[in-house]
């Protein structure tokens, strides 16, 4: 049984409109490399070289892979990977540490 990868709306142009694709690999990074063979450009939207992109959430089953091992997270047949672009924004480019005067 391959690994299912659920694709968000905004990335479905890489998958021909499919909301779910399949792949294989020992780690999340391997899996993304595998997906790129059939869906070129997809992995670059999720990872930037050796790291996951900061504003893309990736989940292994019900857990955020940031807390598991990032791209090194082991994956197995039967797992489900879910990709969700972070919902974020605001009045400035980045969070202001310590907050600003109200």
């Amino acid at each position: 049984m391959p690994i299912e990868v659920r694709i968000p709306t905004i990335l479905r142009n890489y998958t021909g409109g499919s909301k779910s694709v399949e792949g294989k690999g020992a780690t999340l990074g391997d899996l993304l490399t595998d997906l790129d063979k059939r869906h070129p450009g997809l992995s670059e939207r999720i990872a930037d070289g050796p790291s996951l992109r900061r504003f893309v959430n990736v989940y292994l089953n019900d857990e955020d892979v940031r807390f598991l091992g990032g791209l090194e997270t082991p994956v197995h047949e039967g797992d489900t990977i879910t990709v969700l672009p972070a919902v974020a924004g605001g009045q400035t480019r980045k969070p202001v540490a310590g907050g600003q005067p109200g």
Binding site: T9, L84, A86, G90, V96
Partner: protein, 207 residues
């Protein structure tokens, strides 16, 4: 155009006021493919910042999974600006990832009158849209559901001063909004006055 019930409109404004001076954020889910906002889902701002918001990743996962299970989609994604106008910033545009959603911005910079505007953000382009606040209750089982068939009578009363508000959805990319032009509904804390609501419909406050 965003059509939203008075109750949901007021919930968004109340959430923004409650979280001020931090930015508030949330979703209104609705049945997939209908564009109808129905289910109010306030979200935690994981950044807890007056100038930035981000959904907590696990909360977002749960909410998105729940919407998928219920055959819903995020019809409205809202957040507040606490010191600037309710217009999508460059940050807002760069992170907008739901092309079908209505991006609602509320500004709480004025403690007397919250400003409420809605936008579509598609492929990096911002288009402001009209906000139509209607009195019917949330949900398809609402007894006032038949009111939806009534034509809008307020459209002509609203000054259409911006090309970007045309129904054809002409994209209008702007670096900054023109000052002082506010064609859309303002929630000025006036509960009896549903700006933009169908005048002849019964005003029922479900809350």
């Amino acid at each position: 155009m965003l059509t939203i019930s008075r109750a949901l409109h007021d919930k968004i404004v109340a959430h923004a006021r409650t979280d001020h001076p931090d930015e508030a954020c949330g979703v209104i889910a609705g049945p997939a493919g209908t564009g109808r906002p129905e289910r109010f889902i306030p979200m935690i701002n994981a950044e807890r910042s007056p100038t930035f918001y981000r959904f907590d990743s696990m909360e977002q996962f749960r909410v998105w999974k729940e919407m998928d299970d219920r055959d819903e989609e995020p019809v409205v994604i809202y957040h507040s600006h606490t010191a600037t106008e309710p217009y999508p910033s460059r940050t807002d545009v760069s992170y907008a990832s739901e092309p079908e959603a209505h991006y609602v911005l509320v500004s709480t910079r004025d403690p007397e009158a919250a400003e409420f505007r809605s936008f579509r953000i598609v492929d990096g382009e911002v288009t402001e849209e009209e906000v139509r606040v209607v009195p019917w209750a949330e949900g398809p089982q609402a007894p006032e559901a038949h009111v939806r068939a009534q034509p809008s009578v307020q459209a002509s009363a609203r000054p259409a001063t911006r090309a970007s508000a045309l129904p054809g959805g002409e994209p209008a990319t702007r670096a900054s909004a023109p000052p002082g032009v506010e064609p859309n509904a303002h929630a000025g804390g006036q509960p009896g006055q549903a700006a933009g609501a169908t005048a002849s419909a019964e005003e029922r406050e479900p809350e």
